[in-house]
Symmetry: C2
């Protein structure tokens, strides 16, 4: 790029159209504006019926069941609640309550008027939610069925692609389409291309045809090509969908839980000020000058409860995970300039490990499993967070077992050496695969990728305190430093980190964090997302004459034809 061929920030350009209020991810079905969550025995119904006037930001209308971040926040909330509050639900049907469309995807005016960081952050969250749907199916036995009762375009079809089954109405007009490239000059960026070829095994030339054909594919061809599982005449559609849902629910292990109570996810109520966000177990201190957030996670107080179901949302692992999840989402969306997160823990390691045993020992208990998977998903959110993550391990910290995963998710770990009492970490079986990363490996296995002998050695070092010098020897921390050097070194690291190009750090971290194998999920977050980010920053999409900007104006995009 020549020096002149660059983006100049518009001083009036805000994070999103009319950005003002920070975005909260805390909601519940009683507050939904865009979705209806209905439970019918062992089948859950998620009905998308977007209120066009209730966009999260002014400046666009959510026509044809198109969505913005606000719509997706409700979707995420519903998927979470289905797992925790409805243990009896074995199948979930996603369908449309709009008589004109199943879902038209991400709202184009919203995208066209949003800043680059907003678009990227929005896509990341929607990707996490789609992967969350697949996680519910794979790990919670909650099968998702897309009942596509009208045209599903772009992100609309990508919601369907995240489901186990896609049932398409055959009404002569309902089509499946990915019109992003032909209409907007961008990619289907919510996993669509990867799920077409890698999940649904659609032939690559057909994927190419679909993704360049604005009007999409309908009827039988959609099934022949593998875009849908079944195409169903209009008159039989409702009945067939209900039947497929009942069949899926009956085949789910969840159905055996009929009558079991769920765990209500009571509202979180953090105190939020200009420089701190405080939940019960998780706190964040914001240093805007240093562009630094210090996140402190507190371990549990006292003994684990006798009955975790009775403890419910108050059970420390669940409560802490919900708070951490909410904090990550808040900071990512509302505090983009705070580029480094320092992670600390504090608490009693013994109490933490007792809680962890309670979670693991609960064996087949569905709630224990849900909590483990939820903490796994929250750690994965950290893995794909575009912030530098630095763990600081000191006396009184509580980086053991499941909380040690927080340190292992960080780009670096600094540990204080030679104090009395000493800083300690503890490896447990929870570090050996309970919380796999998107690449399918534990954070420990990723850290020691290709060093299987060392990984085996570590597996023999469980359940005992490891002090700093040994932790460094075992490769578990980046550096062990005595108290003369520790504070200085950490300060220098944070200052240095805070001085580097935020974009280069994002790219660097996105590559270094994921050694080894790739999966559908890493392909979506690593490959597809990176290409989309690039395209989003190119004038052919987002420039004044770009396709995304000009969509709906009646003027065709003016492209720079050079292939890059």
């Amino acid at each position: 790029m020549s020096a002149a061929e660059v983006m100049t920030p518009d001083p009036q350009a805000s994070q999103a159209p009319g950005a003002a209020e920070p975005v909260s991810f805390r909601t519940d079905p009683g507050k939904y504006r865009h979705w209806r969550l209905e439970i019918d025995g062992d089948v859950g119904w998620l009905v998308l019926d977007v209120d066009p006037q209730a966009g999260l930001r002014p400046g666009y209308e959510l026509k044809l069941n198109s969505y913005d971040l606000g719509v997706d926040i409700e979707f995420y909330d519903a998927v979470q609640r289905l797992r925790f509050e409805h243990p009896e639900v074995g199948a979930v049907v996603i369908t449309s309550g709009n008589d004109k469309a199943f879902c038209a995807g991400a709202n184009i005016r919203m995208l066209a008027t949003s800043s680059h960081p907003w678009k990227v952050n929005f896509c990341k969250f929607t990707n996490e939610t789609r992967c969350g749907v697949e996680d519910a199916s794979a790990n919670s036995g909650q099968r998702y069925i897309a009942a596509v009762n009208g045209t599903a375009s772009g992100g609309g079809y990508e919601i369907a692609l995240a489901c186990d089954q896609i049932l398409l109405v055959d009404d002569g007009s309902a089509a499946l389409s990915l019109p992003e490239a032909p209409l907007l000059g961008v990619l289907p960026g919510t996993g669509g291309l990867t799920r077409l070829t890698d999940k649904r095994k659609v032939r690559r030339d057909r994927a190419d045809v679909l993704a360049t054909k604005a009007e999409g594919i309908k009827g039988r061809a959609a099934v022949t090509w593998g875009l849908a599982d079944e195409v169903i005449g209009k008159s039989r559609f409702g009945e067939t969908v209900a039947q497929r849902a009942r069949q899926a629910a009956a085949a789910s292990p969840r159905t055996a839980r009929a009558g079991q109570p769920g765990v209500a996810l009571a509202p979180l109520d953090p105190s939020i000020t200009a420089d701190a966000i405080c939940y019960r177990h998780v706190r964040a201190a914001l240093d805007r000058q240093a562009r630094l957030v210090t996140i402190t996670v507190a371990g549990p107080d006292g003994d684990p409860p006798g009955d975790l179901h009775q403890a419910g949302a108050g059970f420390w692992p669940l409560a802490m995970t919900r708070e951490l999840d909410d904090l990550i989402l808040w900071l990512r969306t509302n505090e983009p300039e705070l580029g480094t997160w320092m992670l600390r823990t504090r608490g009693d390691i013994g109490a933490l490990l007792a809680h962890e045993r309670c979670l693991a020992g609960a064996g087949g208990d569905w709630l224990a499993a849900e909590i483990r998977h939820y903490f796994k998903r929250t750690l994965k959110r950290l893995d794909v967070t575009s912030r530098s993550l630095v763990a600081v391990i000191e006396p009184g910290s509580c980086f053991a077992g499941m909380l040690l995963e927080l340190a292992l998710a960080c780009d670096r770990q600094y540990m204080l050496e030679g104090t009395d009492p000493a800083a300690r970490i503890v490896l447990t079986s929870a570090n050996l695969g309970t919380f796999p990363m998107a690449n399918g490996l534990s954070r420990l296995a990723t850290r020691f990728y290709g060093h299987d002998d060392h990984s085996e050695r570590l597996a023999a070092e469980l359940d005992r305190p490891i002090e700093a010098a040994e932790a460094a020897d075992l490769g578990l921390v980046t550096a062990a430093l005595d108290d003369i050097d520790f504070e200085d070194e950490v300060r220098v690291v944070l200052e240095e980190r805070g001085s580097l190009s935020p974009d280069a750090l994002t790219g660097l971290e996105a590559n270094c964090r994921f050694a080894g194998p790739e999966t559908l999920e890493t392909k979506i977050f690593g490959r597809l997302t990176a290409w989309q980010n690039w395209i989003f920053s190119r004038p052919n999409a987002a420039g004044p004459d770009g396709a995304l900007t000009r969509y709906g104006t009646g003027r065709k995009a003016a492209f720079d034809w050079k292939r890059v």
Copy 2:
């Protein structure tokens, strides 16, 4: 991105600084300005000694053995010639003839003053060359040793990372570094990050430290961290390198070929006019109005030679591959606006298959193997080419076996049906794995990824002509069309393709072409490259106040601190 936060093309910005002459990739050791290729028995020496004044374009000096595309074109040529012209060479040492540095990486002024497409295309070619070094080692028994006799920074260290062994001099100053992020606000984009974690198995936090530490790591720490294999005192360095090279050569199967003559790669001499590029077997017709290139590959005339060594560079598979390789490089670099390549073949299928049998039947013959691997690499180049690829299959075409791979590399295949004589394709065993893609699968296996039963069925359909209707039934072509529809349909497809956003198509194709598994190579081309492209297009790197632009001016970069 807001509408105003965009890149506006500079009418004076050219492809590269002072772009004028098209770039030719045809060279030979007699013409090298920057490398010396010396053969000493079974060891080849590649000595980098860049002429600072001989940059490919004006406007920068290639100090400290830094490189531009011109330097890399010679590197590529040398790696190729070592395989074909030096069958006796079992080990290659890459070292520096510059007394101040091993290699300072890609020249920064060159990067800072180049257009975005130029930077991306430059990185793609350098990546292909680095992967080519690894291919020579893996498939040709030619082991590469980096004799790092001075500081290797950025792309300089990335050259070393592509080698089998990295020997670092311990002279108190020579360091290994990846200073792109701290100094330039970009990534080590020639595979460095991926090779650190996935090839050399460097711990992710150490990779993070290295890639943010401008001065790098030297001495023993480089070996402890896995950045180098051996650190050697200055006085013993030359002798130890020579010894390691002799050991590697002795262990290579190539050494058994001492005394065998190589095959000289005689100069290619295409005729190049404004609208055509013609080699002996490969031709390209350029339609600038339609932004379309029609590439026609002719099959061999007559019978294969009795002795392929005697035929040498004139042997059709080698001659055709060299021409196609050169054409791809020429078009990619010099014709970025011609966004669609239509691939045709013509010739006698029987003669082609006879040549293919000669190549396969030669069994352990080193030259036959080299030609197969070279055609494989050329097909891989096509796979990562950012142009839409459309195969057109008509009567008289020659899409059989190895040339059918050209069609399978395309995004779509259109076949004419119902004529007399009929258009025909032929599957052979060459389509079942002789020419794997970067993902490790054949193009056929990638096309039918997840449909193993169908792949097995196809394996029973070898060595017989398949006409259009059956080819469509077997999923080998996108569409079979009779002569009433064929011409119209192909015209519409090409026109439509030519109207879409070039960036969206690049991202779309980069995703659809690689279903299934990922490898070091797909991670480099798919994940790392996409992040680098994004960063290259961001103002924090390439804007007027960006780190890349301001490097060396004494002014610090001014960053937009928002994390994206």
